[in-house]
Amino acid sequence: MPLAKVKIKISDFNFYYGQVKVIKGVSVEMLAKNVTSIIGPSGCGKSTLLRCFNRMNDLIPGARAEGRAEIEGVDILGPQVDVVELRKRVGMVFQKPNPFPKSIFDNVAYGLRVNDITDRLIIEKRVEQSLRSAALWDEVKDRLKDNALNLSGGQQQRLCVARALAVEPEILLMDEPASALDPIATARIEELIVELKKHYTIVIVTHNMQQAARISDHTAFLMQGELVEYGKTSDIFTKPRKKLTEDYITGRFG
């Protein structure tokens, strides 16, 4: 197997909310076209770390990053970075499905329109492609004009995936994308993630360890803002190097 390309790299990375340090000296390299999962007890900083990759934390007053974070070797933290441009390359799916109160079609088309794509035919093609990639097309193709809020929770979340894919990102960040869904909808999202990694680099936060084990290639275990262990998912779950990791994955705490 050829050496996999590093897509996201952070080193000696710290993150603060005001005075409170919530990410402490984390260094990690995530590979292209891989699924990397971030696990850890609630409040350990998983979402915070994930939201650094598309600079979503910029919205929070007093939030501040320290250290290095790169995508394909290019810094993403500095003031020179065009955040809007970055977010086109790094899509995101949130914990709670959050489609806009617009039609299904307009939800997916939104990312294209704000990026100045106005050609009706191109938009229609991209919307269909994205909905197909998100395994939603067959369910909604006859009701594209319906309000997205009428879809079921699982469908809404796949719509959010489609909406993110429409912008053609390279990386897809997912913050507990299945935590609000029932088991069947969860299984569909998991299938989808495995399918999507052929084309995208995926980083997923999950508190469900079986999920991490099922779908990810690499796993990062975070605790109280520190990276306890990072490696191949199979290694983390079968032969963890740290006692703490073993305790966590065997469910002794958290």
Partner: protein, 294 residues
């Protein structure tokens, strides 16, 4: 336990009483207006009152009481003010809620509040010495005391209402919408105009209607700025006499219990009904908006 229950009951009762008093006062005002309007309306007829445009109580021959020109004048000044205040107000609200830095917001908020506190007579004064001459110069009219002048000043009066209520409506939009938009590479302006404003639409409509309610009922400013020619307006550059101006100017000098007196109450009644309906609709729309977001 028992005392707490009694306390709750008392507070509940007080609120109920409060609401009841408001309703009684409103009904009282309505009945008072109606009682004083009816004799005039009976004499003149609803048709002449609402469908003809000559309001000439002091005519040598037969006095006429057509209110249409006033209605149209009020409508023009109000619509004109909305044409200015709605885009400006929503734009400002969007800017303040989503685009402005916290620093700018801190300065702008009190400014908007101060704007709301300017006495209307001061605005009217500015209309005469500032807006009027400016308009006269720009349009080549005589003194610039006309419908546009009134519209501009009323826009200034309606703006604080529209801005602060629209901002509230925008702030009540779930954060997740804005996050989703920004995460797709939309900038802040795109996010607020294309996602948040549509999501807050009903709240914003209510804000604009409340602003409109203010504009319709406002008296002193329009009285001073619009020239008050009792004629059928021919355009925004013509001097107009609105319903409020007519009442304010004439009621002080009219002899009691004459047709003229009764007809001024009729004008007041129409004004009352219009503002009442507008406020009612904006209230319904706003409550619907709040429910929808839950």
């Amino acid at each position: 336990m028992k005392i707490k229950r009694i306390k709750e009951k008392v507070v509940e009762g007080l609120f109920f009483l409060n609401g009841l008093i408001v309703i009684i006062i409103l009904a009282g005002i309505f009945l008072l207006l109606l009682k004083n309007a009816l004799p005039g309306l009976k004499e003149i007829g609803l048709m002449e009152f609402l469908a003809t445009g000559y309001w000439n109580p002091d005519a040598y021959g037969k006095a006429t009481y057509g209110a249409l020109s006033m209605l149209v004048s009020t409508g023009m000044v109000t619509i004109g003010s909305l044409l200015i205040a709605v885009p400006l107000g929503i734009g400002t609200a969007a800017y303040l809620s989503d685009v402005a830095s916290p620093r700018v917001r801190e300065i702008a908020k009190p400014v908007v509040e101060i704007l709301a506190g300017i006495p209307s007579v001061v605005l009217g004064f500015l209309g005469i010495v500032l807006v009027g001459p400016l308009l006269a110069k720009l349009t080549g009219t005589y003194n610039g005391l006309n419908a546009i002048n009134g519209s501009i000043l009323l826009a200034v009066m309606a703006l604080p209402t529209i801005i602060s209520l629209s901002e509230d409506a925008l702030n009540s939009v779930p954060r997740s919408y804005a996050e989703a938009s920004l995460a797709l590479g939309a900038n802040k302006w795109q996010t607020v105009t294309q996602v948040k404003v549509p999501a807050a639409a009903s709240g914003i409509v209510a804000a604009c209607m409340l602003g409109m309610g203010r504009a319709i009922g406002e008296t002193m400013t329009v009285l001073m700025a619009t020239g008050n020619a009792a004629q059928f307006p021919t355009g925004f550059l013509s001097s107009v006499k609105t319903m409020t101006s007519t009442i304010a100017i004439e009621l002080g000098e009219v002899a009691y219990f004459t047709t003229h007196f009764y007809m001024l109450f009729s004008v007041g009644l129409v004004l009352f009904l219009i503002t009442f309906v507008i406020n009612l609709i904006s209230d319904i729309v706003f409550n619907k908006h709040m429910k929808m977001l839950k």
